[in-house]
């Protein structure tokens, strides 16, 4: 019997309100209101409560825990993901996977843990005046969060999906390395994306949020932060709408939170959206701009042997070879990884329909898939997208795939196919409506070279939304300072991936944890006028 720390905590009297059940409006007073419970919100809640501050966390999604995680896509996507995992950019050319549940994307991510690369930090120091963000400054925060979340080497042999990446790359002289993971006693099952059924993944759901709740923090889930009420350069109140049990429609009940300070941690689409709905000052038109995605393209191979990409820890091998071929702001580089494969996501992602699609699906046990994550935001012509609002106030990201991105997409599709053939693939299929399964590297090279790279023909996905409330040394180039404090609203901080001035070039969770730990600790010291106690 697996213990469920959330159900135990609820039974012990945690102060959790499911807003879908509210029969009347709710008004709460607190020291700090935190919007969002993902990587930024969770770490902030733990650190602020450790400093003795009273905290209210607001989460749009539901509170679900290991007892609810049945490893079924049909349950997980509608319950745990933004827009049922069908969130897309404005032109519908890019599918965006983001969590929407207590724990945010950390509840459903694939556990990949990387420190922000020095090349990225150097670019921020040079171009955005973030001189404080040196490797030396951040190292203790990385160490602290790695210890807190059990980030460590994964010593179990990689599953075949990842082993093929290592094997194919090695044949071509391309370096790969092992991905560190934030897990304890992991069962090596492979269903991280549907919520960890064994609580091995050290997500916010089972670490920082329980710690904060145990110290008396309050959590309101099923409530969407609508807007901040502004008064003389400060926020006077946070207004939230209660949602029905499936999180689709507002019930009409309101949650109002009055706090001394407000932390936005709603992710890089959600946080800018709250500020835009609130009509936050934006004199230099930086809010919601420079939003990055690590646009990701996909190559599916069929191997002679079984791969069973659904089984075993996902994403345990990576290659940064193609990030290291030139200057960081030169032609866009990409990171290679091997994702988990499950029938619904795989079936939706593969091109075509009818018999050709059914034939591809028939090879599911032999499917080996690589993804290339493009490092956007460095090249002068890679300026990212912009978050805007629909008529109903919901956010939408416009992101134009520019020629410099498409140039990198072609290199990425070629690189992945070559590695897959080197790993022994019988055929390789770039995920593109005009592509076929190619049976040799020579054929693939010629055909990929001629593919028309356009939106809605080339499958592009993203699981890493970053930017939109970028850090900088001045309001001309960003929304918040290097400490996450808003340039125009005295009692607002942003603690999530939206503060990154470019993409990271690595999976973002650990960088959000570390930067948030640093900035939340400074905030706690500021609000309490004393140094905060250590995390944990």
């Amino acid at each position: 019997m697996i213990r469920d720390p959330i159900r135990e905590g609820l039974a012990a009297g945690w102060k959790v309100t499911d807003a879908s059940r509210l029969e009347r409006d709710l008004v709460l007073d607190t020291d700090v209101a935190i919007v969002g419970t993902g990587a930024g919100g969770g770490v902030t809640a733990e650190i602020l409560t450790a400093a003795g501050l009273d905290v209210v966390m607001v989460e749009e999604g539901p509170l679900r825990s290991s007892s609810d995680f049945h490893m079924l896509e049909a349950e997980a996507y509608p319950q745990l993901y933004q827009e049922s995992a069908a969130r897309k950019t404005l032109d519908k050319a890019i599918t965006i996977l983001q969590g929407r549940c207590v724990g945010g994307s950390t509840t459903v991510n694939w556990t990949s843990s990387f420190r922000a690369p020095e090349a990225t930090l150097a670019f921020w120091r040079e171009r955005f005046g973030l001189g404080a963000l040196t490797p030396g400054e951040l190292a203790p925060w990385f160490e602290r969060m790695e210890q807190r979340l059990a980030v460590g080497a994964w010593t179990v042999p990689p599953n075949e999906n990842n082993a093929a990446l290592a094997r194919g790359a090695a044949k071509l002289g391309i370096a790969t390395a092992a991905i560190r993971r934030n897990v304890k006693d992991c069962w090596n099952i492979g269903y991280c994306g549907m919520g960890c059924p064994t609580n091995a993944k050290q997500s916010m759901l089972v670490t920082t949020i329980p710690a904060a709740l145990a110290r008396g923090a309050r959590l309101v889930c099923g409530a969407r932060a609508d807007r901040l009420r502004l008064h003389r350069g400060r926020v006077a109140m946070l207004e939230c709408a209660a949602l029905d049990p499936r999180g689709v429609h507002a019930t009409g009940k309101r949650v109002r939170i009055r706090a001394k300070h407000y932390v936005l941690a709603a992710g890089a689409i959600g946080s800018p959206a709250v500020l835009i709905r609130s009509r936050a000052p934006d004199p230099h038109r930086t809010l919601g701009r420079r939003t990055f995605l690590h646009p990701t393209v996909i190559s599916a191979a069929v191997m002679p042997q079984r791969v069973d990409g659904h089984a075993g820890a996902p994403q345990t091998i990576f290659s940064d070879h193609f990030l290291e071929q030139g200057p960081v702001d030169g032609p866009i580089g990409f990171k290679l990884e091997a994702p988990p494969l499950h029938p619904v996501l795989f079936g939706m992602t593969l091109q075509g329909f009818g018999e050709p699609h059914a034939t591809l699906m028939g090879a599911f046990p032999h499917a080996q898939v690589l993804i290339a994550l493009l490092r956007d935001g460095f090249h002068p012509e890679s300026r990212g997208g912009a978050v805007g609002l629909r008529d109903d106030g919901s956010p939408v990201l416009g992101y134009r795939l520019t020629p410099v991105v498409w140039e990198a997409v072609r290199r990425a599709l070629l690189a992945m196919a070559e590695i897959q053939f080197a790993a022994g693939a019988k055929s390789v299929l770039p995920v593109h409506e005009r592509a076929q399964a190619y049976s040799s590297w020579a054929e693939a090279r010629a055909e990929i070279g001629a593919l028309p790279l356009e939106p809605l023909l080339t499958r592009v996905v993203s699981a890493h939304v970053m930017g939109g409330c970028g850090m900088a040394d001045s309001p001309q180039r960003g929304v918040v300072d290097a400490g996450g404090r808003h340039f125009h609203l005295a009692n607002v901080s942003v603690h999530d991936g939206s503060v990154f001035p470019t993409s990271l070039g690595v999976n973002p969770q650990l960088s959000i944890y570390a930067l948030t730990a640093r900035n939340a600790s400074a905030l706690a010291a500021d609000l309490t006028r004393k140094a905060p106690p250590p995390i944990g």
């Binding site: 069908a86 689709v248 699906m361």
Partner: protein, 170 residues
Amino acid sequence: MPTRRQFLKYGVAGALALAAAGIARSQPAYRAASGQEPLTVLGAEDRAVLAAIAPAMLAGIGVGAERRDAVVGSVDRAVAGLPPHLQREVLQLLALLGSWPGRRWIAGVGSPWPEASREEVAAFLERWRFSRWALLQQGYHALHDLVLAAWYARLDSWPAIGYAGPPEVK
């Protein structure tokens, strides 16, 4: 293949039909009898459109009438779980396809949906898939994702692809 000129004409007709459909169908068709949640949002016309499209999308799998209807039901529940802006888009798309001008002139399907052959439906899907109009490509992708997700979410779809389902965890 229609000429560019025809496309432009149909494009305008399509925009009009889409607008009309949007006005006619700004609210979900049905709401659950009790409680506030709409558990199902598709009307009979929408279901007829999907019942014709699903067998073409799933050709090669051997989905009979019973499982086809179950897939349509799954799509209905999935749409009901989407955020309101996405629900509206899907309902507009299905209303457009369900309308006579939409089916005849924009989808290019001559027969009423229940009588349309699988080949006729597949040809329409293929035209939209490679259409020069982003709106039609987006429509294709919406149908692709809704139907294939509904199918591969089903436990009885897994044996054909050699997937045993999740392991037991206790």
